[in-house]
Amino acid sequence: MDSQVGPYGQNALPPVGRGASEKQITAKQLMEPARGLSPFTADLPVRDPAKLAKLAEHSPVLRAKVEEVAEFGIANSIAALWTLTAEHNLQLPVGGDLVVAKALLPQVADLVKKQM
């Protein structure tokens, strides 16, 4: 186990500006994002597939996402976040052409299958 892992997560320090010691943190404070963010270190988090698998066992949503990332990399997740952010920030009518792309999929699958 990484020695830096603390109650707030790996490499994370108590949130900046909270002005209270950890002992004084109430359940409400613990459960809500702090108004300040932990300092950032450019070291990537430690990968632990076993730990992740253990978590995914208990959550179908997380399991599905883990499988998606394992198969297609992280691109879909970035795309999902960007699409939602764009919808929120700019009220852009996103999604229409993605629907078209998905609708094409069965046809594409058939055509590829014929050539396999």
Binding site: V5, G6, P7, G9, Q10, G17, E22, K23, I25, A27, L30, M31, E32, P33, R35, G36, L37, F40, A42, P45, V46, D48, K51, L52, L55, H58, S59, L62, V66, V69, E71, F72, G73, I74, A75, N76, S77, I78, A80, L81, W82, T83, L84, T85, H88, N89, L90, V94, D97, V100, A101, L105, Q107, V108, A109, L111, V112, K113, Q115, M116
Partner: protein, 264 residues
């Protein structure tokens, strides 16, 4: 000016339409050709992979405005931060900001888009492709954290979206993004971000706690309890102080009671 905007909008639409002209037949051809070029056997999930790439390209293309907005907010925050740190704007930071601007411009170019999408699917980051150093990434994060601390959540979310695109393997970017969305009451965005935070760092506790709050706000009490359970699993083999576990247990009891009251 209005005329220029309309022209830009029309060009953007034309470009989107051109992408849509990609028919099933030539998409299939592309997949088959790619397998041949790389002398590998064609696999059924090649279709899915191609779809993922296509969707990613389209998202990038559609999100150009979001990216530009994020970069704009990043510049503004860096400018403010440089007032208290005269050494911030080094030539290195300047050059790497220029790389980022160049990347934004390249989103009009389909070949460039294809290159970025392919690299991302191969687990390479835009940070690597644009030669942006970790040192600069820290400055970018500080800019996002500055906006967040000033409760400018819209702007912070936009900058975090840029950071995630640059390097999605950093769980802190997903967490920051989730938190900004949380305070904007954009819970579906926050939940997406918290899920990715857990995947990129399975030792991170906070994403589960805040996801629980999001689910509760959406009236999904079952899932709020499930998120807390994930939090408890996260810390099961970690040395955390007793009050953290106690707080989690208490919170779980509160949610179970709330769920039971709902069933009555």
């Amino acid at each position: 000016m209005v005329f220029k905007d309309e022209k830009e909008e029309s060009e953007k639409q034309q470009s989107a339409d051109e992408l849509l002209e990609l028919t099933a037949a030539n998409l299939a051809e592309m997949i088959v050709q790619d397998a041949k070029n790389n002398e590998r056997q064609l696999l059924p999930h090649d279709v899915e992979k191609e779809r993922a790439k296509l969707e990613f390209i389209k998202t990038l293309q559609r999100s150009k405005e979001t990216l530009e907005n994020g970069v704009h907010e990043l510049f503004k925050a860096l400018a403010v931060l440089s007032k208290s740190d005269a050494t911030l704007f080094s030539s290195k930071l300047g050059n790497e900001l220029a790389e980022l601007v160049q990347f934004c411009s390249s989103l009009d170019d389909e070949e460039e888009l294809e290159k970025y999408a392919k690299a991302t699917l191969e687990d390479k980051s835009v940070q690597e492709l644009c030669n942006i150093s970790n040192e600069t990434l820290v400055h970018f994060y500080n800019a996002a954290a500055y906006l967040y601390a000033r409760e400018q959540y819209e702007q912070a979310l936009a900058v975090f979206a840029v950071l995630i695109l640059l390097n999605p393997k950093h769980s802190q970017f997903w967490l920051g993004s989730g938190n900004a969305a949380y305070f904007l009451h954009q819970y579906p965005i926050a939940l997406q971000a918290y899920t990715m935070c857990a995947i990129t760092n399975p030792f991170e506790l906070r994403c589960h706690l805040y996801a629980s709050r999001c689910h509760e706000a959406l009236g999904q009490i079952d899932q709020a309890i499930n998120a807390l359970d994930l939090g408890l699993i996260t810390i099961i083999d970690q040395a955390v102080e007793a009050h953290v576990r106690e707080a989690l247990d208490k919170e779980r009891v509160r949610l179970v009671n709330k769920q039971n009251r709902g069933k009555d």
